[in-house]
Amino acid sequence: MTKILLMGNPNVGKSAVFSRLTGVKAIVSNYAGTTVSYTRGQMKLGADTAEVIDVPGTYTLEPTSQAEEIALKMLAEGDIVVNVVNATNLERNLYLTLQLLEKDIPVVIALNIWDDTKHLGIDIDVEKLQQRLGVPVIPTVAVTGQGIKELVEAIPRAASPRLPHTSSDKRWAAVGSIVEEVQRIRHRHHTWRERLADASVRPITGGITALVVLAASFIVVRFISEGLINYVLDPLFNNLWAPVLLKLSPLMGGEGFLHNIVIGKLIGGEIDFVQSFGLLTSGLYVPLAMVLPYVISFYLVLGMMEDTGYLPRLAVLMDNVMHRLGLHGYAIIPTLLGLGCNVPAILGTRILESKRERFITATLISIAVPCAALQAMIIGLVGERGIQYVIMVFGTLFLVWIILGFILNHTVKGFSPELLIEIPPYRLPPWRTVLQKLWMRTYGFLVEAIPIILGAVVVINVLYYFGVFDAIANFTAPVVTGLLGLPKEAVTAIVIGFLRKDVALGMLAPLALTSGQLVVGSVVLAMFFPCIATFVVLLRELGVVRMLKAAGIMIVAALAVGGILNLIL
């Protein structure tokens, strides 16, 4: 099958071109042996089907980062390159183009973001550019789909001029002369969007912008997820699914080993979707009706923040603070991802350059950044006792993140490199790419989480049946009751936390804890061992030694913070 590579600088709308070419069916894969991920899909090319690969964004083929190294390797495996070029910044984009034209591979150019050239006062002579480069150049607006048909028609005409290999100075000079010839710039006034953009990287206005954006995100996430829960999922489970289970229950004898695994315990003769703890009750309700809504709404908002171009601004704004934690501003991005799920967040630490930064970021995420699933459970369970307790839990975790980061920065050897990033202009997010990304992430959550949750429910019921938890509870009782002030049954929840934290928190529900105990329990659960999936990626990303270090820090920090909270509350 013909392999078509989409290549270009970061922030040129490559993903939007990709989703226009391929439609919604796309797969995210990791490049063999690495965690650099890329997206691939298929498109019709004449009578044949071709594979389309969205190569990670690259500024140059002389690699300056791991993503660029991978891009170079992928280039060697492709058949045709669609070079996506930002029409509003030819000067920089054409450098990569000239490098591509030196290679022995046919190239066609999508001159994307074409619509913006007009109000930016940029005139580009496409015909002349085509002549100078010797390959087809098609103006496109991927967000609206303009020019995509012409681009597809031009793919068979892709050409390889095989320019002589040259030095970077000569290449920049060549770029200069081409731009000089094909581009005219008219003077014009700043638009409101640019003024807004500049304001968001200044200290005071930027800080205000960040607060507004983050507060708005929080409100939108809660609005969407609670809407889904209250008006769609709860009615479905309570009105349609519960009656089915109540019919099934007597058929299975109403109690006993099998009944407990499949349906769980009836609470007062009724199904309680949180406490019954069977496969068909809590096993389905927790992931689908308590957690999924938060996952969907969180990833929707995050996707919009990514595609409007806000995240890099947040990185610039946070750079100062993050440096105190031994990180640079960019580490805020995996950290925010961690609020969705710790697994992609820890994979996302790959964008950081040094091992030290990756270690600190990953450790902080797995200890102090609760995933959407856990947050949903905290809001659901602790929230019943009053909003102040929810604030206590999240406030403690935030403090732990800051203090632990500060400590790690002063104890982990090495230094952290500095920030150097491009800040794309604000754009209206293209709905297609936002929805495509939302779908891929949600699907990823479902296939990853549901089997583990169902497995966890079975394991817990079996172990419970054989009294294993009682044994562990008795053994660890001094620590749990003495230090943390929790009943010894809470041990079960902490052990289960290793499988799924959301499920584990649910297990605190039937223990009749005081509000203070519930806060301690939630914080300890959040900070203690991450769930098994996070554990696996931690191991893969950090290696055994660093992972054990991270785990040691976790245990000490969780017990210390839990103990202190117990004394205060």
Binding site: W172, G206, P312, D319, P417, L420
Partner: protein, 79 residues
């Protein structure tokens, strides 16, 4: 030092200038070049964060945020 020669850090917000020299190792120079920052380029300083925070500049209509330490190494001839 010539009065007009300055670094990105010392420039005023909104001031324009031309990049003269990148005083760094090969690695840093390569990374800056890849982002379109090279001698002879016209730049405008957009903003700087407080307390040795990153400096944001505009070059060829693209905005780049540069850490304080790196920004000190970029020598500019102010307009």
């Amino acid at each position: 030092m010539d009065k007009e020669l300055t670094t990105l850090v010392q420039m005023e917000r909104g001031q324009r200038g031309t990049v003269l020299q990148l005083k760094g190792g090969r690695g840093l120079v390569n990374r800056l070049n890849a982002l379109g920052i090279l001698p002879g380029k016209k730049i405008t300083k957009v903003s700087a964060m407080l307390m040795r925070g990153p400096v944001t500049i505009e070059v060829d209509r693209a905005q780049i945020a540069i850490g304080f330490g790196m920004a000190k190494k970029i020598i500019v001839k102010a307009d």
